[in-house]
């Protein structure tokens, strides 16, 4: 989808829609000219559009852009003071609230928000040019949603980076409870089971597989999954239940196609005793919330950095 240079079709569509998009963006008040906007739109097209896109799709793409927020973000990236004033007025408080929701701790949230804010402002430089994270905003989604996503990315990256640096004793002091380590999974003596399972999972749609993964692997709630996909919670509930019931049947059918008898297939799928114990253990284990940032972690990171 990403190409380095805008195609002729993209340029043609941009030229055709430039007047309309320019009027919609209000970029003049932020010091952006029409030509500057045209360059920005071509960059966005080069980043997200394929070279062989049809004109109706290109028109729909550009018409769906949030050109007003794109102009604001690009003006902020260029250091336009008035744009920054508007940005701070609109998004500073929202940025902090989103960080608080992600980090679940006030200090961590402020730190996270301030870190991102600095990246947005462009404290970093490259080749003498200020590099602002806002320059990567392309207007495909709302600026507020983009800021939340960037915050989440920053948090996940930071948490993953510092997780291994926190000792178990510290986590215990923070109240985290640990469950017994899961035993090693039983070696699969019969590859047919894995093959059959892979075959069945491969036949699922991307959305069904994503729902199963989010629910059974990530432990997401039905409401969270529903909000991610933009559907009602009951829809996800029915989908998960239906998938769970049909997976067993389909795996059994796949195993029978691979030479197993039905009884053998069902036995292969029967929950192992250790699996039962694992399930009980899992249900008994209190689900720990995501560990929030702590000062100790930050200090550990700093020490590591210094080191």
């Amino acid at each position: 989808m990403i190409s380095g240079k805008p195609s002729a079709a993209v340029q043609s569509v941009v030229n055709e829609l430039l007047f309309e998009l320019h009027a919609k963006s209000g970029c003049e008040k932020f010091g952006l000219t029409r030509d500057s906007l045209c360059v920005i739109l071509l960059e966005v097209g080069a980043k997200h559009l394929s070279s062989g896109g049809a004109e109706p799709g290109l028109r729909a793409f550009y018409l769906s852009l949030r050109v007003d927020e794109l102009a604001l973000a690009r003006a902020c990236a260029d250091g336009h003071n008035q744009a920054w004033e508007v940005f701070l007025t609109r998004y500073r408080e929202k940025l902090y609230l989103s960080a608080l929701r992600i980090a679940r701790e006030d200090s961590a949230a402020r730190e996270l928000a301030d870190t991102l804010y600095a990246d947005l402002y462009g404290t970093n430089t490259r080749d003498g040019q200020r590099v602002s994270k806002l320059a990567s905003y392309t207007g495909r989604g709302s600026l507020e949603g983009w800021l939340r996503t960037v915050l989440a990315q920053e948090y996940v990256n930071r948490y993953r980076r510092t997780k291994r640096l926190v000792s178990l004793e510290e986590e215990s002091e923070e109240g985290a409870q640990f469950s017994a380590p899961e035993p090693e999974p039983l070696p699969v003596t019969d590859n047919r089971l894995a093959q059959a399972t892979d075959e069945v999972l491969g036949a699922l749609s991307a959305e069904d597989r994503m729902v199963l993964s989010a629910y059974y692997l990530d432990g997401r709630t039905l409401a969270e999954i529903a909000r991610t996909l933009g559907v009602h919670e009951s829809t996800i509930s029915r989908k998960v239940d239906k998938l769970a019931k049909s997976l067993r049947k389909q795996i059994v059918a796949a195993l029978t196609r691979r030479g197993m008898s039905r009884r053998q297939a069902e036995e292969a799928l029967e929950v192992d005793v250790r699996d039962v114990q694992m399930d009980i253990r899992r249900s008994l284990t209190q689900e720990s919330p995501p560990v929030s940032f702590s000062k100790k972690r930050v200090e550990a990171e700093v020490r590591e950095g210094e080191g």
Binding site: R66, G139, A244
Partner: protein, 455 residues
């Protein structure tokens, strides 16, 4: 919630995304449902295998459920069931409303086309406004009035010139004695009944006093009293001096054939078709091009205005001229039966094509002069557009288009033809009819005059 086998969890974990992670713009657009379908599937495929991106998306969800939707990225949004079901409901409502509108308009059209016959009160007023004509001697110059004089005079029982005045009864079939100028009129039993009815109606102001005062006012047509019962056997004859009440409104358009009492002041008779006392079903009364119209159908008057024009009224003036009125007797026009017709004569009858010319005669003398070659009519019977007129010298004419075209009919049977003057016509419907002559001949047809039988 039903759990999945452990192997499923393991295999789900095993599938790791190897493609590049979608950037924040794409993930944001995915969350806000502004990605096109193809790109959305790509993101879903990655999310199905990348726990990190799933976690990011979960964290990036807004606090509340209100996720701004930038643009409908999915194609076929209009075809989604939530939209379609309301489209079906709207379509059903539109269909039902359309059917109701069409049905309502049909009913309105039918009611507007249907001729509403004047109510009895209306007919009464008409009768009151019209002079009851009594047979006048031929030497009485009639100013050729088109309207019935308003002041009915005392009916005279006899007239030097009497002729069988024919008037249509309630069924519009029987023709009774016509203008007095053609001879004495003899009342048959139906005429007597009509006279009685008119007498009753007169007490209510329906008819002029003179019209209902006396029973048989004038004997017109047949000196032979034996012919009287035959004049109107299947229908109620309207007395020559009795104005029949107008048809009721329920019968729709109808010919009002009224026979007026003979007075000195009037020379015209209205032959009214009265369906108040009907001996036959209502469908016989109404007119149609096919000569039999179901009840309630509109009256057809002529070929040009069959659908919506009321049936004309017919009369025979004192000079024996056949006259027709399209405005319920306000004005009358002479009808010339000399109309070209090309109908070949069947075996038992002779059809003589004649030319027709329509002209309004305002003066009786002029009319007489014009009609010097025209027959002198004495009886007329109409069933909507189907009209029979008979007169002197056995002349019998038939029209199926309210008098625009005429065909001369010469009934014949076993070598014998109709002779004498036609003094009575009895056509309960366009198919069946009876012709009575001054020579006591009775001719019957059951096929609209194509074949005849002499009784």
């Amino acid at each position: 919630m039903t759990d999945v086998p452990k192997i499923v969890r393991e295999r789900l974990k095993a599938g790791v995304a190897t493609d590049t992670h979608p950037d924040a713009n794409v993930l944001t657009a995915f969350t806000e449902r502004s990605l096109p379908e193809s790109e959305r599937v790509f993101v879903l495929q990655h999310l199905a295998r990348c726990g990190q991106c799933r976690e990011i998306m979960s964290l990036a969800l807004p606090e509340d459920a209100s996720i701004p939707v930038l643009a409908p990225a999915r194609s076929g949004g209009w075809l989604a069931w939530p939209t379609l079901r309301w489209a079906f409901v709207a379509a059903g409502i539109i269909v039902i409303a359309s059917l109701g509108t069409v049905q309502y308009r049909r009913q309105e059209r039918a009611s507007s086309i249907a001729y509403k016959a004047p109510t009895p009160s209306f007919a009464v007023k008409e009768a009151e406004n019209k002079a009851i004509a009594t047979p006048v001697p031929p030497n009485v110059s009639n100013p050729g009035k088109q309207e019935v004089p308003k002041a009915p005079s005392k009916p005279t029982e006899t007239s030097p010139r009497v002729s069988p005045a024919t008037a249509r009864n309630s069924l519009g079939r029987t023709s009774i004695g016509g203008p007095l100028s053609h001879g004495p009129r003899v009342l048959n039993q139906f005429q007597q009944q009509n006279a009685n009815i008119q007498q009753q109606q007169n007490t209510n102001g329906f008819l002029p006093q003179s019209a209902a005062a006396a029973p048989p006012p004038v004997a017109f047509a047949r000196p032979d009293a034996n012919q009287q019962p035959q004049a109107a056997t299947s229908s109620k004859a309207i007395h020559g001096d009795v104005a029949r009440t107008a048809p009721t409104a329920q019968n729709g358009p109808a010919l009002t054939v009224q026979s007026e009492s003979v007075t000195q002041q009037t020379s015209t008779y209205e032959i009214a078709q009265n369906n108040v006392e009907r001996a036959k079903p209502a469908d016989d009364l109404h007119l149609s091009a096919s000569r039999k119209v179901p009840a309630g159908s509109p009256v057809q008057f002529d070929t040009l205005a069959r659908k919506a024009v009321p049936a004309p009224r017919w009369t025979i003036n004192s000079s024996g001229a056949l006259q027709r009125s399209y405005d319920q007797g306000n004005t009358w026009q002479d009808v010339d039966v000399n109309v070209a017709a090309g109908v070949p004569a069947p075996e038992s009858s002779l059809l003589v094509p004649v030319e027709k010319s329509r002209a309004e005669a305002k003066d009786v003398d002029v009319t007489l002069a014009k009609k010097s070659a025209s027959p002198v009519f004495r009886a007329v019977a109409a069933n909507g557009s189907d009209v029979w007129a008979g007169g002197s010298s056995g002349m019998l004419y038939h029209s199926v288009d309210s008098g625009i075209h005429w065909t001369r009919i010469v009934p014949s049977f076993s070598g014998a033809t109709l002779t004498g003057e036609v003094i009575a016509l009895d056509f309960p419907d366009p198919q069946h009819g009876k012709v009575t002559t001054s020579t006591s001949e009775v001719w019957i047809t059951s096929d609209s005059g194509q074949t005849w039988q002499k009784q």
